[in-house]
């Protein structure tokens, strides 16, 4: 059997808010989904390599040549908040 999902934890990992009155309903759906995964455990995968990609290809390499131009003025038109060429976010505290 799968563990019960810690809704607050997975919400935090996903940077999502789940309010206290939603937790039960959200948790129920998530647990139902995760419950589907239990049948994986029954499958014998001894000696089977995990498969990350459908095709057995290898990484292609790009020549180390600059081809990208400065596009900051254009792409910053769609940014929520910019100033002096910088993206602005609420103060980062280290």
């Amino acid at each position: 059997m799968s563990d019960q999902i810690d809704v607050h934890k997975v919400a935090r990992l996903g940077a999502l808010a789940v309010s206290d009155d939603e937790v039960a309903a959200v948790g129920q759906k998530l647990n139902a989904i995760v419950g589907l995964f239990d049948q994986l455990a029954a499958i014998n995968t001894d000696g089977v390599e995990p498969m990350a990609h459908p095709l057995d290809q290898v990484q292609r390499l790009r020549e180390d040549v600059v081809t990208e131009a400065d596009i900051h003025e254009y792409v910053q038109q769609i940014a929520p908040k910019v100033e002096a060429g910088l993206y602005l976010v609420p103060k980062v505290i280290e």
Partner: protein, 486 residues
């Protein structure tokens, strides 16, 4: 002329013999969109100005002596493909105002071929869903029955085609998202071999499963559109190198001697009798044309759904982390601090199903669960691929249903995500294996279309298109249109 009843190949002939200009043809479809789309909500964004400008440019190219089957042909893009300076929403509030700063490779290629963008069509948010109900821009309705779902996630593409609001459309298929809406709306769509079509500019859901493909009335139309969409792209590391096969030349080959595999696992419990009957009727027709039927087994079929719902959310949870309200997309009002900005921007921007998959994905990758879920699912994925490899020792193509039932009612499964997931059992194994598969109309049940799929070996799209075309030469399910839109 009833241009919306014609196939793309027929329309191309009209353009070629100058019976109609691209501007006229484009205006025809724009008018239909104005007239009919209120009923089905297949378009998120209509782009009439862009369309007419592209059409005029295509006419000029034709006047200058250029020819080309796609030159001046209107189409609809699934709103998952980035279109430069045109709002690209992925059906999410998160990207409601996102003017993409570049064109997807697929868009770039189709633009270069002279195609005309009518607009961007609806889908499930970030392609997560099987009904197009998970759209921030309202549900799309099935033209065959307005209270039925059109399928998803490429539901807008399929519905627009079925209603004659575009001659052809692009779609994407991560777990069945081209094939299932094609089946539900009575159109044809092919999910190519993973790596055939560039994913650059196609907003990612689950990177190792996502694949773009064409949707149209016929397999022949799909073959022509796929020819323009597919190809190596140096911007996509997972895009296959080398030339693509010729998708068109073999369309008229006979199916004589073709071995069609019928996987017993696809015909078991859960499959509705009418879909089963329609699928067997397709087998019978192809057998009549000289193909032979063989029973094959795909023993790990039932494991595909859970494996998919581990792998796809895992990749999605990471792919969707870039939506943080910093460089583009939705940002909440007056964030208190950085964390508040992240959490509120994302919580306001994403819909319920997207949030669920982000959380499930975070869960299966998190410390303590990675091996049991993610790694295990990847091992199962290899078993599923091996099932197909073994089956293709005994047959050339596999025939099966696309979905267990025809389209269901709007709202019928929205309360229970797991019931919705179960409807994907026949489409998902193909994505896990990375194989090509084509969905084609196979008849009707209670007024709703029923579709079947043909699954092929890697890069065997020409064979799939050939078999589908031969079937469509002998049948007329694919040229039916719903009465309200005929």
């Amino acid at each position: 002329m009833n241009f919306h009843q014609m196939t793309m190949v027929q329309l191309a002939e009209q353009l070629r013999n100058k019976s109609v200009s691209s501007v006229e043809l484009t205006q025809y479809f724009l008018d239909r969109m104005t007239q009919f789309d209120g009923q089905i909500n297949s378009y998120i964004t209509q782009t009439p100005e862009l369309a007419l400008a592209q059409a005029a440019a295509a006419d000029a190219r034709r006047a200058a002596g250029e020819d080309g089957l796609l030159l001046g042909m209107p189409l609809a893009h699934k709103d998952i493909f980035c279109t430069k300076d045109v709002i690209t929403t992925c059906a999410s509030k998160m990207l409601a105002n996102f003017k993409a700063p570049y064109n997807a490779t697929v868009v770039e290629k189709l633009n270069a071929a002279g195609m005309v963008t009518l607009g961007k069509v609806n889908m499930d948010e970030f392609a997560m869903g099987s009904t197009t109900e998970n759209s921030a821009f309202g549900v799309t309705r099935n033209p065959w029955s307005l209270d039925a779902v059109p399928g998803g996630s490429s539901g807008g593409s399929a519905a627009a085609l079925a209603a004659g609001l575009a001659p052809v459309a692009t779609g994407t298929d991560t777990g069945g998202s081209i094939r299932q809406p094609a089946a539900f709306c009575g159109v044809t769509g092919i999910k190519p071999t993973y790596g055939s079509v560039s994913r650059y500019g196609m907003i990612a859901y689950a990177s190792s499963l996502d694949q773009g493909g064409p949707m149209a009335k016929t397999a022949e139309d799909c073959a022509h559109l796929l020819s323009a969409m597919a190809g190596f792209d140096e911007r996509d590391s997972t895009c296959a190198e080398g030339e693509r096969p010729d998708y068109v030349t073999g369309l008229n080959d006979s199916v004589k001697g073709l071995r069609i595999g019928l996987p017993k696992e696809y015909f078991g419990e859960g499959l509705s009798p009418e879909v089963k009957a329609a699928t067997m009727a397709v087998a019978t027709e192809l057998e009549k044309q000289g193909a032979t039927l063989v029973e094959v087994s795909l023993p790990n079929t039932s494991a595909a759904m859970p494996a998919y719902y581990v792998i796809a959310p895992a990749e999605a949870s990471s792919n969707l982390s870039r939506y943080d309200g910093v460089r583009f997309g939705h940002r909440c009002d007056n964030p208190k601090d950085l964390k508040d900005m992240y959490i509120r921007s994302r919580s306001e921007g994403f819909g319920a199903e997207v949030k669920r998959r982000i959380m499930v994905g975070a869960y299966v990758l998190s410390a303590g669960y990675y091996d049991a879920y993610y790694l295990k699912a990847q091992r199962v994925r290899r078993l599923i691929k091996q099932d197909f490899v073994d089956a293709f020792d005994q047959c050339d193509v596999i025939l099966g249903p696309v979905a267990p039932t025809p389209a269901w009612k709007l709202g019928e499964k929205t309360a229970d995500p797991t019931a919705m997931y179960l409807a994907d059992i026949y489409t998902i194994p193909v994505n896990l294996a990375g194989l090509p598969a084509i969905a084609l109309p196979a008849g009707f049940s209670a007024g709703l279309p029923v579709g079947v799929q043909l699954i092929g070996n890697y890069f065997s799209e020409p064979k799939l298109l050939n078999v589908a075309h031969q079937y469509q030469q002998a049948t007329n399910h694919h040229i039916q249109m719903p009465a309200a839109f005929a």
